[in-house]
């Protein structure tokens, strides 16, 4: 059974994996807010990311937004097919729409992020 998701206020989600890595994506709310997606730039495997700092960019028809790392660590895998299948971000944001896997510096860093209930409350206060 998968570990529960945690969320950053900037709408990235993170899921700790059994092998010590953590999978990162963006929430369905974020995808819907961005509207029609047209391009995505992802980091390379081996890139060092810092919590709260940009690790990639995503473009919709009207806007470019940064993707922010929810925790610090090293990128160990990238969903390299995603830029060619951006619709996956909307159709399966917590599964096939994963973006990167990170090996966190601190295996418990995600515990300081929002749980599902807190994230739901955050987006309920900011409807599209």
């Amino acid at each position: 059974m998968s570990a529960p998701l945690r969320f950053a206020k900037s709408h990235e989600w993170i899921r700790p994996e059994a092998d010590g890595t953590a999978t990162v994506g963006i929430s369905k709310y974020a995808v819907e807010a961005l509207t029609d997606l047209v391009f995505m730039q992802l980091p390379k495997v081996g890139t060092r990311v810092e919590a709260g700092q940009s690790f990639g960019e995503i473009e919709s028809v009207k806007a470019v937004s940064d993707l922010y790392a929810p925790v610090s660590g090293e990128v160990v895998a990238v969903n390299s097919t995603l830029p060619d299948r951006l619709d996956t971000l909307g159709s399966d944001p917590y599964g096939e729409g994963w973006i990167v896997r990170i090996r966190p510096d601190d295996a418990r860093a995600h515990e300081g992020l929002l749980d599902q209930a807190a994230y739901d409350a955050l987006i309920a206060a900011n409807p599209h």
Binding site: S10, A33, L34, T35, D36, V38, F39, Q41, G52, E57, E59, S60, V61, K62, A63, V64, S65, D66, Y68, N126, H128
Partner: protein, 263 residues
């Protein structure tokens, strides 16, 4: 924030003409200024030479032949390429926590809706485009902004259909949003016909209406301020009078060939 700016104000800077990288640097500074001010801030930009600005991820090699040779800058915002020089470039920055910063479409519609109201007051039947963007159908988008249509673009009727006269694109930062808007005033004769588009003044003139750019811009800014429930506060100097060294440093990123040639 300007020493004169009050929290309920909407500061506006009218900048003198500068090269593209300086305009981009000033807009990055504007984002920080919105956070310091706690609300929308606006910069009306001008260009020291005809300049092609590319969207953040547009492919540099794909610049149409008609536009090669122009000064070039890559924006941090999305969207299609724009030939600046005969347009009115308006940048607005708002904190993400402001109601206008929460969604992509809201800021677009507020700023563009204010112009629609002004033009309608001059008997120009402007409206916000509401059909889905071309890219949503899977087709490749045109290279130039004014050949594209997306929801919220301002279009005006022409004998051939409609012409887009205002388009915008955003950079959504962690704490602020910067929206670049380009109101095409007259066709830019610095570029060849395939890349040249009629401006709103020409469309209006063909319909028997004379528009004065200063009057339209002033009314547009007043409309934006009214929609934001803030008082316009025209700044006495340029942004670089206030933050020249910071803007110069920020402009360096946009002069860097690694940025311009990133894609």
């Amino acid at each position: 924030m300007s020493e004169r700016s009050a929290p309920e104000s909407l500061p506006v800077w009218f900048d003198t003409p500068v090269p593209g990288p300086v305009n981009m640097g000033a807009d990055e500074w504007l984002a920080a200024e919105a956070l310091r001010h706690g609300g929308p801030v606006i910069r009306v930009a001008r260009w020291s030479e005809p300049t092609l600005s590319l969207g953040a991820f547009q492919v540099r090699r794909a610049v149409p032949d008609a536009l090669r040779g122009l000064a070039l800058v890559r924006r941090p915002s999305g969207g299609g390429a724009i030939v600046h020089g005969t347009d009115l470039t308006v940048a607005i920055a708002v904190p993400r926590s402001h109601p206008w910063g929460e969604s992509v479409q809201r800021l677009y519609d507020e700023v563009h809706g204010a112009l629609v109201a002004v033009l309608r007051g001059h008997a120009i039947a402007a409206r916000l485009h509401r059909d889905a963007p071309v890219s949503a159908s899977g087709a490749e988008e045109p290279y130039l902004c004014f050949d594209r249509r997306s929801p919220g673009d301002v279009v005006v009727p022409t004998p051939a259909g409609t012409a887009k006269i205002l388009g915008s694109a955003q950079r959504r930062l962690q704490a602020a949003v910067v929206q670049h808007g380009s109101l095409l005033w007259v066709a830019n004769m610095a570029v060849a016909a395939p890349a040249r588009h009629a401006g709103v003044a020409e469309v209006a003139r063909a319909a028997g209406v004379a528009l004065a750019s200063d009057e339209i811009v002033d009314a547009w800014l007043a409309g934006i301020a009214a929609a934001a429930r803030r008082r316009l506060e025209m700044q006495s100097g340029c942004t670089w009078d206030q933050a020249g060294p910071v803007i110069t440093e920020l402009a360096g990123r946009f002069r860097d060939p690694a940025w311009t040639e990133r894609r």
